[in-house]
Symmetry: C2
Subunit: 336 residues, 2 copies
């Protein structure tokens, strides 16, 4: 599923992807390499994060890889010179994890972004940034679908730090002319996602359990609504945001073609995998306190301004995801 | 000017004041000591910050002083046990300085607050916090006077970090029951303020120049409006916020009895100090880009909910401030 109208020529352009071994990062890197970009990846491949070396096995020799932490100033100095496009995907994405170790979340999700921006300021560089933020910062929706004007009310540490990082990007654009676009993602899934445990989205652990013949779990009544974005569609949005002049200084929600209840999602698994089964279980306490209830994004702004389309139905996306993990399950469940 | 109706008995209560040697901190500490509180101060007395040892010369032997940086985890562990009330005043307050060294501002204004809150979470402590934030996070006002519902649009790094810290305090109240109140201050002035240079509010450097017989400077046309809060009134608000049950989990703007143009402020100096004179000069570039224009706070919420009154007229406050610095000028201009 390639983007049909690339908004910007990527041939021979120098592109940095932080978190390039993760779900979104690795799918983006494949697309960038296909388009002829000169790709540098910074990733620490931390086991609790989403990076997996297998995700880039096919293009590993076509990219420059700096294995390190985005909080490392020396590495930033090595990775940044000459970059024209920077996709900031390295993140601590766990909401519960952000509550367990707020200072770690602060360092990865906020301080490291400031380090990148400060490097640009100090070196008078103006690469194009795309920063992936989160729907979580809206908190429990006051109305649905949630547009970009919805009040902000971060229900957890992760939401606070992501919000602050958004403000930094916007500030450095306004004051120093360093161009950036913020995308507020909803749950993203697809081939390459972390499925080892429940640390990231519940789709991952559910895929694993389904393929291992185990029942998976749905929290609460299962009536909670979510929109799940397939990774190819998210990569489309990243590339549009990186190339479209109207994206500079803007923030956009990403959504999905359909919003579904968690129970309907579970039933999709059951439809796709013979014998799949699930249990409804009460919310664990540490999730309950930060849960935001129903969430559905209004993504009409990015459709209107950038011409983005979310094209992959949940069934098609889940089928592609399950097909991938049927083939490569052990690459994502065994210790790397 | 003592508060006439103390909302909470402070006798023998253990109170921590970070930044206790600064303008607001030191005036608060005097009030706390008078009321019989057991006061601990954490302050690094950094020369670029507002702390001045002379500010607490009269009560120095009645307080416990830990000279250190609020970012020092070991010191937090020493200062926190047993505290019932915590006033978080240690801050990097310079807006221009926050742009010059964002990571320093981030560490002082955000990370150190998270350290305090995390200490409480780890130790299951629930002291009462009062956190002083800033009007700056509203950005250029969309309407005047600015109430707490005004949109947020931080025009500088300081505003972003203060905003994130506010969200952390609110989150730790909601999730862990650690009670806090946020006060969004406007410019505060009075005896004990830093007057060495223009790093903090322009009132300080103007006081110095007036008393040294030099012309002081007003940026731009001088028509810009500000409300200037006298420190005694701000201390009243801090004590009310610390003691009033209705203050928990809330945020409040503080204002002043009157809003004045910078030129009217300058004319007050001229009226109070024979021979005082000033120049209108263009905004320096680094200030112009982050300047917010006119600002007047709507502080009706704290008046209504906590019964606060801003009682000190600008003339009375400036007169008291000038009288103080006439007597003690060298304590604030010579290297400490």
């Amino acid at each position: 599923m390639a983007i049909s109208h690339p908004p910007v020529s990527l041939r021979d352009r120098q592109v940095l992807v932080t978190g390039g071994f993760g779900l979104i990062g690795s799918n983006l890197v494949h697309r960038l390499v296909q388009a002829g970009a000169k790709v540098t990846i910074v990733d620490n491949l931390a086991p609790e994060c989403g990076g997996n070396e297998f995700n880039l096995a096919l293009v590993r020799d076509q990219v420059r890889f700096i294995r390190c932490d985005v909080r490392d100033r020396a590495v930033i100095g090595a990775a940044m010179p000459g970059q024209e496009l920077i996709f900031c995907l390295a993140a601590q994405t766990g909401h519960v994890a952000s509550m367990q170790d707020p200072l770690n979340d602060l360092a990865i999700n906020l301080e490291s972004q400031v380090l990148l921006l400060e490097w640009c300021r100090a070196n008078q560089a103006q690469p194009r940034f795309v920063y992936t933020s989160t729907r979580q910062l809206y908190g429990p929706p006051q109305y649905l679908p949630v547009d970009e004007k919805h009040p902000i009310n971060p229900p957890d540490v992760n939401g606070i730090n992501k919000l602050a990082a958004e403000y930094y990007y916007h500030l450095y654009w306004k004051i120093y002319g360093i161009p950036s676009t913020v995308l507020r993602l909803t749950n993203t899934y697809g081939p390459g996602m972390r499925i080892r445990d429940a640390r990231q989205t519940f789709v991952g652990i559910s895929v694993r359990r389904v393929l291992e013949g185990q029942p998976f779990q749905i929290f609460g009544t299962g009536e909670q609504k979510r929109d799940l974005a397939f990774v190819d569609d998210v990569v489309d949005a990243l590339l549009l945001a990186a190339g479209h002049p109207a994206a500079v200084g803007e923030l956009f929600n990403l959504g999905a073609p359909e919003a579904v209840s968690l129970r309907a999602l579970a039933d999709e698994f059951v439809a796709l995998v013979p014998g799949a089964r699930y249990d409804l279980v009460p919310f664990p306490d540490e999730r309950k306190v930060i849960d935001i209830g129903d969430y559905v994004a209004d993504d009409s702004k990015i459709r209107r301004v950038l011409g983005w389309e979310s094209r992959t139905t949940l069934r098609a996306g889940l089928a592609a995801t399950l097909a991938f993990y049927r083939q490569h399950l052990h690459r994502y469940t065994e210790p790397s």
